[in-house]
Point group: C2
Chain length 592, copies 2
């Protein structure tokens, strides 16, 4: 089962939930129009469908190989990457002054979803290049920018993020890699980095590593970490002192090389400082926030792919007879339990997509709004939504891929079918770019406190406004959407107050204990409100005479989410409220 | 990380939830005592830990090979299987008259959990042999029983279940394999069967296939299916006309061969009828009900294994500093979000184990009670609980294995760590022996109606009695266990009434639409009540002076389940209640 980019759903979400039309009207997006966006999306969709998607299964089977320090990607990957960069897709969001097209994050996010749905192992590479571009634009010296940005923007070269070391994963304070000044303005970087995505490969002539390391006199902890640019090949063409020591044998995304990188085996890799000394984490956070949204989009992408695969199978596979059907076997897609599975997959995917695209639009406004107060507000909204976009989307990516396997029955467990690959590929996304536990902690201990809680309050107020519109419309097709959604939002509101109060009274453990269920609760309310915005827009268009049957489908999907998924909010609220009581005695239960 | 059989938890669950002590007191279990049970469990645990568990990773990596029709298992597997049968483990539940030890299903279920936790790919083989023994004991002719039962009971030979064909999976009515009478009392069986677990292997000298096929004059549909015994080697030592055509490349349980079997390529495989003509499904159901419980136990097993692996890692891996800790990094097991993950894993595992063991005890009483009325009641309780045991346990098997990967962070995605294998292995259990969707439909459309609804009402009444005991105890350590559990049980009660009413008014779609969330709701209430029974017993023992710290742990675990997991009941009730509304328009949402 191949992938077909769902351009109509993507565009509808961009326009009516993420506010593309409003942003265009506000003049935030320059020359971009919804029509132009549609043209670009359709072109991107074709590339994803026709060039990348066919590589996905072969890439999984073939994987990557390491021999004498050289990593070789699967057959066809080099050509596909070349075609992709030559068509300008890597440059889409890049700054105009370095050859990019300067298009918004929102539009690029839709494309990122498509690249990753076509193949997660393909899509993850450019995510890292994009992060490096952002870091260099904001923190790189003129020299570094003029030397590297053009080729990174075009995609002629790729980039990597080198954070993790064997003893420093979620806790970067433990980082040990070192950088010594060479006296000529460069540094000699030594150390071992693990889990480096596309750390070595044969897709491009050069690879630009961004590496976190400590200067000799650096203070301990996270305030003593600096960021360095270490190219595989130096400007004079000689090979730098950095090599791929080994590649990992992973559960999924086999076609994406995950490397252990050794810097400075022979005296030190030549590197250049990016940004200020000991401020490396700040630079890295620039990369990480966008990368977090991109990984959230991977969750959406794999969920969409798994859904399409399951729907295709369910429409073809015949078993049993539907209630009221005549002779013969019916497609399993008509059986109620299979319908529930398929609707759950689609509804979760649509909700996660909506949250990711809303986050992207907030990132755009944080950069593009002229008014500083509006920029700040948008930046805080983006900050609030980013951990939800990352964690919820990647959690549902795994859940949806798992349901996808289930819909296939026995065939789902057979690798040739393809459903199992999605289940394996999906599993990395809740882990990398900050585990989902870390995202939840970020949400409750930092993001809730933005503007003294006003940012989250404003977000909840916007959800309530959606419910008010639902009630005003009072359309029978919405069923119990409004009351169910209202209950979910009120649960979110109470849980938010509880956590804000815990934090203000220094009950840190209470907030940490409730972080993960709170994030899910937030996503159920936000996702439900977003789907309701789509349903309201669909309803208005249908009332206006638009006969596209997709509009009725969007209302059904919204209702299904509210009545079958958002109803989990109350239980999550109770979990958050029951708080940290379990912590003090947890070790008793875990020891026995 | 290796496996250590959790004998104390297993024995406590058997005694204080599944009612081993009560059954012993009632005289149902003959000479068995809790002390003897403990001795057997410890011995089984040693075999699982020391012999089977070390094979699990190698078996996964090596898989099985097919060459010239011969399937070769991974190195060490043949010896381990031989040692296992020679130690008498296959014979444990077998009938005494055929060399078995005649020990109860409850005790064997605990052992089945251990074999499968040590290695699911190893454990699934004997499950099928056990099913075949049961079918032959109940339906086989004297001749077949005397010829095959002794070697199947000892495990010298294994057995298979041949149901599925390419066009007949969940829907056996579509089955096409044929059997022609040969005139000498035997039949010639022809057809292709797929997904045959251990259909061919090198562990034993002979393999006894039980095969569903149609007689020439058989009516269409499920009432025209008969069961045949087709041995790989005929009684005279010649090879029968059955062969393994191919083996599947699967997501998990790589060490277990999954075969496509061809019967009758050269004129027909010689087979013998088991039971009556056209009553094959009845015979097969005999096998399937016990196999369903066994697959539920696989879910418990893989969850326990994944939990142990994650706990071990979390106790060793140091990242970040715990609240209030001194210098240095703390084991991640002390961080609240990781504790939530570990407690969720353990609580779900314990609840699923309890439900499976309760089911096993009901199966025992259905066979062993002297009073026919009590036998009937126990049989209906077993019938009610079997789909819950199968589906809930295997669903949480996947969920727990997924959390287990997450606890490991990046290491979880690396195959060498082992967590990924559990995630892959676990995924088959919700599919085979009747998908979990089929289990849910069985629960709502058949099992709820047993004795006009009295069976399920009695089960709910027993849960309420547990809450009454909790309220009477009023122990502070129980926290909000009683009210949360009461809420969950009342949700179950209302959802049950709704479904019974739907069924009685012929609203079949309403029941089918709510089947899966209803099954989960049932399991949350039942699992919570079961853990409360354990907590009450632990509390009583602690009050009686028993200083085992495990007792306090059991109370914490019960409380965690009630306050953090059972609270999902209300949302599930609302889902069931919102009913089949989504069905009529589902295709609109799925088409768009």
């Amino acid at each position: 089962m191949t992938y077909r980019a769902p351009v109509p759903d993507i565009l509808f979400t961009m326009r009516h939930v993420a506010g593309l039309d409003r942003a265009v009207a506000d003049g935030v997006y320059g020359d971009l129009t919804p029509d132009l966006a549609e043209t670009i999306l359709e072109e991107a969709g074709r590339f994803a469908n026709d060039v990348i998607a066919p590589l996905n299964r072969e890439g999984d089977k073939h994987g990557v190989t390491l021999k004498d320090g050289t990593v070789t990607t699967a057959p066809g990957w080099k050509e596909a990457y070349k075609g992709w960069t030559e068509a300008g897709w890597n440059a889409l969001p890049g700054p105009v002054e370095y050859g990019g097209q300067g298009l918004p994050t929102l539009l690029n996010s839709a494309c990122v979803e498509m690249w990753n749905a076509a193949s997660m192992a393909f899509g993850i590479g450019p995510v890292l290049t994009m992060g490096a571009i952002e870091a260099l634009v904001q923190h790189g010296s003129d020299d570094l920018r003029s030397r590297y940005l053009e080729k990174l923007v075009s995609g002629e070269w790729t980039a990597t993020m080198n954070l993790t070391e064997p003893h420093a994963g979620s806790d970067l304070a433990a980082l040990r890699s070192r950088a010594e000044p060479a006296g000529d303005g460069t540094y000699r970087v030594t150390g071992q980095k693990i889990f480096i995505t596309y750390g070595e490969h044969d897709l491009t002539d050069n690879i630009i590593h961004l590496v976190l390391a400590r200067l000799p006199d650096a203070p301990a902890g996270t305030r003593g970490i600096s960021l360095f640019l270490v190219p595989k090949f130096l400007p004079d063409g000689t090979r730098n002192d950095v090599r791929c020591h080994s590649i990992e044998h992973k559960l999924g995304i086999h076609a994406s090389p995950t490397c252990t990188m050794i810097f400075g085996d022979n005296g030190g890799a030549v590197g250049w400082l990016v940004g200020e000394e000991n401020r490396g984490l700040n630079c890295m956070f620039t990369m990480m926030n966008n990368a977090r949204l991109a990984v959230g989009l991977q969750g959406v992408a794999i969920a969409e792919r798994a859904y399409q695969q399951a729907l295709g199978y369910a429409n073809e596979r015949r078993q049993g007879r539907a209630i009221g059907a005549a002779e013969g076997m019916s497609p399993i897609a008509v059986h109620p339990d299979v319908q529930r599975n398929l609707l759950t997959m689609k509804a979760l995917t649509a909700a996660a997509r909506a949250i990711c695209y809303m986050t992207a639009e907030a990132i755009d406004r944080a950069h593009l709004e002229e008014d500083p107060a509006r920029r700040k507000k948008a930046n805080e909204r983006a900050s609030l939504l980013t951990p939800v976009a990352k964690a919820f989307s990647t959690d549902i990516g795994v859940e949806v891929a798992s349901i996808g396997v289930q819909v296939h029955g026995g065939m789902g467990f057979i690798e040739e079918t393809g459903a199992a690959q999605h289940f394996r590929d999906a599993r990395i996304a809740p882990i990398y770019e900050g585990t989902n536990g870390i995202q939840a902690i970020d949400l409750v201990t930092r993001k809730l406190l933005l503007s003294g809680g006003e940012t989250v309050r404003a977000q909840i107020a916007a959800m309530r406004a959606t419910v008010a519109r639902l009630l005003k419309e009072n359309t029978p097709a919405f069923g119990a959407t409004a009351p169910r959604l209202r209950d979910a939002i009120e649960s979110l509101d109470r849980a938010t107050s509880h956590l804000l109060q815990s934090l203000s009274s220094n009950a840190q453990g209470e907030a940490l204990a409730g972080a993960t269920p709170y994030l899910r609760l937030f996503a159920l309310a936000q996702g439900g409100a977003a789907l309701a915005e789509m349903a309201l827009a669909a309803n208005a268009q249908a009332a206006g005479g638009d006969t596209d049957p997709a509009h009725a489908g969007r209302i059904v999907l919204c209702r299904f989410f509210a009545e079958n998924i958002a109803v989990g909010a109350k239980g999550l609220e109770e979990t958050v409220m029951s708080g940290a009581g379990f912590l003090q005695d947890a070790t008793l239960a875990l020891a026995s």
